[in-house]
């Protein structure tokens, strides 16, 4: 019988080997494939099993993780969800993450290299890593002022601290509720997401930094800057400002918004041309300076550069090779000139910052779970767009816009506000967008703001009517806090 028993043990040994081979195939050979299979919740659960760090505005956690009693241990909660949606983004089971939730994922989930020391501890202890905290540069008061100002409208506001490039406000309207996209209920998430996707007003679009629009007359700041830095013009230079400007090579003509000439005898100073937003004068200036000069100037302000703040902003563009009529149109922010609200805020901020363009940023610092500071963003110069004297001259011209020109709605008692209105057509039959850009106090600005309101009226005054009051509120919110 012993022989039979030995034979049987050999058979059982073979069966055990078969089991081991099969286990090895599952756990080693095919493991990677299985991990990525639909229905495998483990990667997700590992992510949701970890306490994700908060996103802070000042000391206020606008996004934080709260413990649940469910399989998914932590739930992402957003206080003031719609207010901060363009900054935080969402953190969804189904649609992944957007906003800072996406770009700062490795900080928030504690996997970034700066946590290496913590990770070694975690490896030993087996504890789940806890994520770091991301503190934004957002000024809560400015953000709220901008959000309230845009209520009921479609548009975006970006506010920047001119000296540093810190983004103080980034607001979109309409907005969405990231709580509903970050819940643990797939059906609710899908339903809400589909509703947002179907909305013609595109609430998921990060308007402040992604939406590209013709900047209209606010672009005259760039043309004026190019004129001043060319050395050929100063604010008192008299330039032609007739009722109409014949577009060269075409049978079309360009008119002023009020269909009048800009000054007596069709002549106007550069200062006045900006104050009343004279189209013909700036169209003439455009061809006088040439497209290349304007583009160079625009690029010093940040055009044609993709910024990651660290959210990826759309690249604002000045047309590559415009002919003369196109240059004339581009000089007044029409034709193919496209800019984000962020870009126009940067132009404005640079003028206020003695002509120095700063790299915009949204993250002030990164803290470890124990709140020690791991990283602080230092302000970085992007370019010197204007000499200080030219910037000062342009600032005075912009103050004149608010005090005597088209931007009177931005006036603040006892504060010198520098601003510029704009209205642009997005297409032949498409609705117009109204702009207002401003900074204050003019002598030492603490805030530069760009307001974009879509579907505005056709009049140049719409920038003043719709945009200026919002800009004013944002400026006041910042100045009152200091």
């Amino acid at each position: 019988m012993s022989r039979q028993i030995r034979r049987l043990s050999f058979v059982f040994a073979l069966l055990m080997v078969a089991v081991l081979v099969n286990i090895t195939i599952i756990q080693v050979v095919n493991a990677g494939d299985y991990r990525d299979r639909p229905g495998n919740q483990r990667i997700l659960l590992a992510e949701y099993d970890r306490e994700r760090g908060p996103i802070l505005v000042g000391t206020d956690p606008v996004a934080r993780s709260v413990e649940t009693g469910n399989t998914l241990t932590y739930l992402r909660r957003y206080s003031n969800p719609k207010l901060y949606a363009p900054i935080t983004g969402f953190y969804s089971l189904i649609y992944g993450a957007t906003g800072l939730e996406r770009t700062e994922n490795r900080i928030l989930n504690g996997k970034a290299d700066i946590f290496a020391v913590d990770r070694i501890q975690q490896l030993v202890s087996g504890r789940q890593p806890v994520g770091g905290a991301v503190t934004t540069t957002i000024d809560a008061a400015a953000q709220r002022a901008a959000y309230l100002g845009l209520r009921g409208k479609k548009g975006a506001v970006v506010a920047i601290e001119p000296a540093t490039g810190r983004i103080l406000a980034s607001v979109q309207s309409p907005s969405f509720d990231p709580n509903k996209l970050s819940s643990h209920d797939p059906a609710e998430i899908r339903e809400y997401y589909n509703k947002l996707e179907a909305d013609p007003d595109k609430p998921l679009l990060n308007r402040p930094i992604v939406s590209l629009n013709p900047p209209g007359s606010t672009f005259k700041l760039v043309t004026a800057a190019a004129a001043l830095s060319s050395g050929r013009f100063n604010p008192n230079s008299v330039i032609p400002g007739p009722r109409t400007y014949d577009l060269p090579l075409t049978d079309k003509e360009l008119r002023n918004w009020n269909r009048r000439q800009c000054g007596p005898g069709g002549k106007v100073t550069l200062r006045d041309a900006l104050a009343i937003s004279c189209n013909t004068a700036f169209a003439w200036l455009g061809n006088e300076l040439g497209a290349d000069a304007i583009r160079d100037q625009a690029e010093l302000f940040g055009f044609d550069t993709g910024f990651e703040i660290p959210l990826r902003a759309a690249t604002s563009r000045f047309p590559a090779d415009p002919d003369e009529p196109q240059t004339a149109m581009s000089a007044i922010g029409q034709f193919d000139v496209r800019a984000t609200a962020l870009q126009m805020a940067m132009v404005t901020a640079a003028i206020g910052n003695s002509g120095r363009t700063m790299v915009p940023y949204l993250i002030q610092e990164v803290r470890a779970p124990d709140l020690t500071i791991l990283q602080t963003t230092e302000p970085e110069v992007f370019a010197d767009a204007l000499r200080p004297s030219e910037a000062l001259a342009l600032t005075e011209m912009m103050v004149n816009v608010v005090e005597n020109g088209t931007g009177t709605n931005a006036r603040i008692p006892d504060v010198r506000v520098a601003g510029k209105t704009g209205t642009a057509q997005t297409g032949d039959d498409r609705p117009t967008v109204a702009w207002f850009v401003a900074f204050a106090p003019a002598a030492a600005p603490q805030v530069a703001v760009a307001v974009l309101v879509e579907d505005a009226g056709a009049e140049e005054v719409s920038g003043n009517g719709l945009g200026a009051p919002i800009a004013k509120d944002v400026i006041e919110a910042v100045l009152e806090r200091r």
């Binding site: 030995r6 043990s9 286990i23 599952i26 229905g39 469910n70």
Partner: protein, 468 residues
């Protein structure tokens, strides 16, 4: 037995290897303790009193078994007790780990705290220890069991069909394999597997000579006489009945496989394996075409991914868990074993595999292999045919269980509901497997005990039977 006195006086001194057993036992206990401590640490629960109490109780029980062996079976195999103890501790560890996960969920969701199953399992381990000691103390000679061959066989059959009796049988997850008396419920099949192994051993020892007679040769295969086919056919029919009426695929497979293997050992005729295999195939085909639950097991096995949300859910989740474990495992307390259905019972190997990785599972399968190998070695070493057959049969019971359940949860073979010996949560299985170890230790003690051993009346009787 009165013969004990003569055995106490050895002719030559043989090492008992009890110190080896104690050393291995301490090592096993240390591994279990370290694992439990890691879970306590990782879960943030810390080194709670209940952790030390549990470790203390397990250590105490194992020590009690060790001391019993020293007194009543001192020549017994020194490896089996530590290995079975380590396996039991790994099971307790994993049950504790899943308890911790469930408790955490309950705290977070403010729902009532679930009763920790680890205490219940620990209680069952105490019962197992008592029975282990009782078997070794009361059963001084395993050959006494041969006297009750038919009584035990009948008892085994009754236990097997007991769940079918209305009023006491309970259907759990589609299989009727539980009986419930008041608050107590147990799986009679677990006890039946021991009783029937004893019966097979006793019966085959008595009948093997006639069963080994070759009647005809058919294309080179020696076939038994037609009238000797009876027992095999009966075993086959009983297995089919278990499958059909209790829907217990695993138990059905276990009994038929066990009987065929023991028949082969007893008769030394390969023809029985061939015949058994043919009957198995006929049964499998019949079951496949006539019973939906068998068919669904097979279709799910062939492509679990196609049924990932329905019938294949368990196996797919099991594979996900194993894949997450990888080579070294997620680490104790760091996987998601609660995602796998029945993680404490049928799928405990998958839950373990996620946290200890392929490395840990190799070690685990090796532990089983060592235990089975020691059992089969005991069978080879046994001095009497009944002991040989019984030891081999009990080892085969363990081997079939291990292969069928680990193969099942890893998708190597269709999934059948069998418990994982020593690991699975559940009292009947734990107690039954410890009784198997006790009997194997008794046989190995008798086998290694220094000669001369006075022949017992049973042996004499066996000799007579063989001579017939």
């Amino acid at each position: 037995m009165s013969l004990q006195g003569t055995i106490e006086a050895p002719v030559r001194k043989k090492p008992t290897r009890r110190w080896v057993e104690l050393l291995l036992l301490v090592m096993a206990w240390g591994i279990g303790l370290l694992g439990t401590m890691q879970i306590g640490w990782v879960s943030g629960e810390g080194m709670t009193p209940r952790l030390w109490i549990t470790a203390g109780v397990v250590g105490g029980l194992a020590l009690a078994m060790h001391i019993t062996i020293r007194i009543v079976a001192k020549y017994a195999d020194p490896i089996m007790l530590p290995v079975a103890t380590l396996l039991t501790m790994l099971g307790l560890l994993m049950i504790y780990r899943i308890d911790v996960a469930s408790a955490r969920r309950a705290t977070l969701s403010d729902s009532p705290m679930p009763t920790p199953d680890v205490y219940s399992q620990l209680t069952w381990f105490s019962v197992a220890t008592i029975l282990f000691i009782a078997v070794l103390v009361l059963l001084q000679d395993h050959r006494r069991l041969a006297r009750y061959t038919y009584t035990l066989g009948l008892a085994g059959l009754v236990l097997l069909v007991l769940p079918l009796v209305p009023g006491i049988g309970t259907t759990v997850n589609g299989a009727t394999l539980w009986i419930r008396v008041g608050d107590l419920s147990f799986q009679p099949a677990e006890a039946a597997k021991i009783l029937l192994t004893i019966f097979f051993a006793g019966y085959l020892v008595a009948k093997r000579d006639s069963l080994a007679v070759v009647r005809t040769k058919f294309i080179g295969i020696e076939l038994p006489r037609l009238k000797d086919l009876g027992p095999l056919v009966i075993a086959w029919l009983v297995s089919l009945a278990v499958l059909v009426f209790e829907r217990d695929l695993g138990t059905s497979l276990l009994f038929f496989g066990l009987f065929v293997a023991m028949l082969y050992i007893a008769t030394q005729r390969r023809s029985w394996i061939i015949l058994g295999g043919l009957l198995f195939m006929v049964g499998a085909v019949l079951a496949y075409y006539n019973f939906a639950h068998v068919r669904s097991r097979v279709t799910v096995w062939l492509d679990p991914w196609a049924y990932a949300d329905t019938g294949g859910y368990q196996i797919v989740q099991s594979i996900f868990g194993l894949a997450n474990g990888g080579v070294l495992g997620a680490g104790l307390g760091q996987g998601f074993p609660n995602l796998v259905p029945f993680a404490k019972t049928d799928f405990i190997v998958a839950a373990l595999g996620e946290e200890i990785g392929v490395t840990g599972l190799f070690a685990l399968v090796l532990l089983y292999a060592i235990l089975i190998e020691r059992g089969l070695r005991t069978a080879v070493a046994a001095r009497d045919s009944f002991g040989q057959l019984l030891a081999a049969g009990l080892s085969i019971v363990l081997a079939i269980q291990v292969f069928v359940i680990i193969g099942g949860v890893t998708g190597l073979i269709p999934l059948t509901g069998l418990t994982t010996p020593f690991l699975s949560y559940g009292g009947s299985s734990l107690v039954a497997n410890w009784v198997i170890v006790a009997i194997l230790l008794r046989i190995s003690d008798r086998a290694r005990r220094p000669a001369p051993v006075a022949p017992s009346p049973d042996d004499a009787m066996t000799q007579v039977v063989r001579a017939v």
